[in-house]
Symmetry: C2
Subunit: 398 residues, 2 copies
């Protein structure tokens, strides 16, 4: 009998969001008409901006005519998009970038998992705790050894350097789930460490559009030497509301090398380039046509307004809960607010309390790892009106 | 220094289509204005049908309003689509199918490679020769041992059962690149073999819409017992012209089990279900909204006409070359025609001859594996006018 990948049997059940949905479902069944406000899931709620909608309609019309129809495209992304990314997201911010270092995909989730394909499965991985579960689960699937870097109130949710050298480290800043950021010196410490130790830094910048503080880097490549040690993941999900239509990209600088079994240097850019035509057929043409609208003055202004709205919600949460006596982190350069549970309640106890007493749904911090116990994540992805109502309810709780 | 996946260093250069493009480029540069007819690449040329275009515009409008906006969807596909697939593609053809056995993705290429994630990398794989390179390359990346099953004129391009039992076998019928098919008894022989030997059958049915012969199965599940041994891959690329907008699905029946290290049975359906939310975030909402149009009477009629057109082209190629004295296979239930090179020419020699003497671009058979040497693949994905002109030119060659 053929054998399965037994690493899958070591995975935790993907229970977090289904368990949340189950508890909310049970509550609404017992309390029909309950006016539940959802600040739990990390999904945008604003519709796509008009510039993107226009671009999508035009792209659909292109697919309706034989003379403008696009079938298979370049697997690594159309040049009309990679050139805009290199120019707007990097060069205009003073970061050198070639178009052929940019690989367009259907999103950062896919890429943060798939990147493991080009890396040895025998390597070790360091992950923050709490962490976005995708980094953890995809590396369990691949069979890599995992060490965790606790992020706690004591270290300000900024991980300390590992005691044992890992082959790979994932960092996500602005962070999901804590909403905290790294300053330039803090990120530099990590880049320097990775260069020194021959560790690959996988930097998830999915939330960079939320950074307003000039001392907080939006790209790992703002740090000198990062091109030799880091891959960066970007997403249009939280930047332009593309969660449902899917688009992201990954940057693999040409300088970046790993080792083969004999210690010879192997550049990663050609490996990732080789993977694309073999394992994906490129991101949907329509969505690649939509992304450039995000780089026009109108599109940039429109998505900027949406992000400003979400950041306003984050401020409502952070400040409202702060006034009510809660300890909170994040929410200034991030859509996430990390709330310490009151009175030593567990994450699930606080979740239940908010659900049943305030009809507000959050996400229990323990779902992101053991160090998330005693915390709850609230997200800014609702409307200002609903966010304000939710915070008023929570503020009246005690 | 962190290590790369050394299996990538064993991959053949992905040279085939780039080498073809290079040779065509060199020829057109030396012969400006050359009227080259492309029968090489397996990409559709007809635009999307009106029913699909309408559905896409409507879906774009849904994304423009907060009340109808769709963000993250179910990672395994929306129920509005999986229910249609189960009903139209299976139950109406007399095949039992539950919706939760269907997993929507961005295409069959991704899935035929990614399926390896849930299987032991220590297993062995049997592949036909010639073969769609994706099966080969993704299994090299994973480090699996590969045995080849030669498909030749002598066996009618239907592989014989392996001499040594493989853990996994890939079959693609109607076949890419040979255009040949399996009859029901031939496919039954494989299903019976796989059940008996505990081999997983990965059946790529990307070209099922081209089957017109009632004795040729369109789904592996037409064969009794296939649910216990086979996974099926389907694509909207060649069925509805979705090559550029990307959509496919994979069927993993609930009965289908592999073994863990102790010989215990492990169902594959939950493993693949667990992979989706971890490694993909679902296929683009817009495209999932477009696919149902393909199942309406209008949409089905419109895509049916397009396929009829391509099959007409295939007949032009097959019959035209046959009259000119060429030996051809395929092209009756497939968009591909497999042409034996004349006078013992190699694949590349015949390719060059067609390019320089007829200004027709094909694909050298040797690019699909050693048994493809001495053959050339022509595709039906051009217009009838251009296809006819190309064949007239080739017929005049000798």
């Amino acid at each position: 009998m053929f054998k399965v990948n037994e690493n899958f049997l070591k995975l935790p059940e993907a229970y977090l969001f289904s368990e949340i949905a189950r508890r909310i479902g049970a509550y609404t069944e017992a309390n029909p008409g309950a006016d539940i406000i959802r600040l739990g899931i990390g999904d945008v709620t604003s519709p796509l901006c008009p510039a993107v909608i226009d671009a999508l309609h035009k792209a659909v019309d292109e697919e309706a005519s034989g003379s403008t129809f696009h079938g298979y495209g370049p697997e690594q992304g159309y040049g009309f998009l990679t050139s805009l990314i290199a120019e707007h997201d990097y060069r205009r911010r003073g970061i050198a970038m070639d178009e052929d270092e940019i690989f367009v995909s259907d999103g950062a989730k896919s890429d943060t998992g798939n990147i493991g394909d080009i890396l040895s499965a025998a390597g070790s991985v360091a992950l923050t705790d709490p962490v976005y579960p995708v980094y953890h689960d995809t590396n369990v699937m691949a069979g890599r050894r995992i060490q965790t870097l606790p992020c706690t109130e004591a270290n300000g949710f900024v991980p300390e350097l590992p005691s044992a050298r890992p082959d790979i480290v994932y960092l996500c800043y602005p962070n999901n789930p804590t909403g905290t950021v790294l300053t330039r010196p803090q990120l530099k410490m990590w880049v320097d460490y990775c260069r020194r130790e021959g560790t690959l830094l996988l930097f998830d910048a999915a939330y960079e559009a939320y950074v307003t503080d000039p001392d907080v880097p939006r790209s790992v490549y703002e740090i000198e030497g990062a091109r030799e040690t880091a891959i960066e993941f970007r997403s249009y999900s939280k930047t332009a509301g593309f969660t449902g239509i899917r688009l992201g990209y990954t940057v693999v600088p040409k300088e970046l090398c790993g080792a083969d079994g004999n210690g010879g240097r192997v550049a990663l850019n050609p490996l990732w380039r080789r993977r694309h035509p073999t394992k994906i057929n490129g991101a949907t043409f329509l969505i690649q046509r939509a992304a450039p609208a995000h780089y026009t003055p109108e599109g940039a202004a429109q998505s900027g307004e949406i992000i400003k709205g979400y950041l306003g919600n984050a401020a409502l949460i952070r400040e409202g809960l702060g006034r009510a006596g809660y300890k909170c982190w994040g929410g200034t350069d991030s859509p996430y607010v990390w709330v310490k549970t009151p009175d030593g309640l567990s994450s699930w106890e606080f979740f239940n309390l908010l659900l049943t007493q305030c009809q507000v749904a959050g996400t229990p911090g323990c779902g992101f790892g053991p160090s998330g116990e005693g915390y709850l994540r609230l997200t800014a992805f609702n409307t200002p009106v609903q966010t304000r109502r939710a915070i008023e309810r929570i503020a009246r709780l005690f």
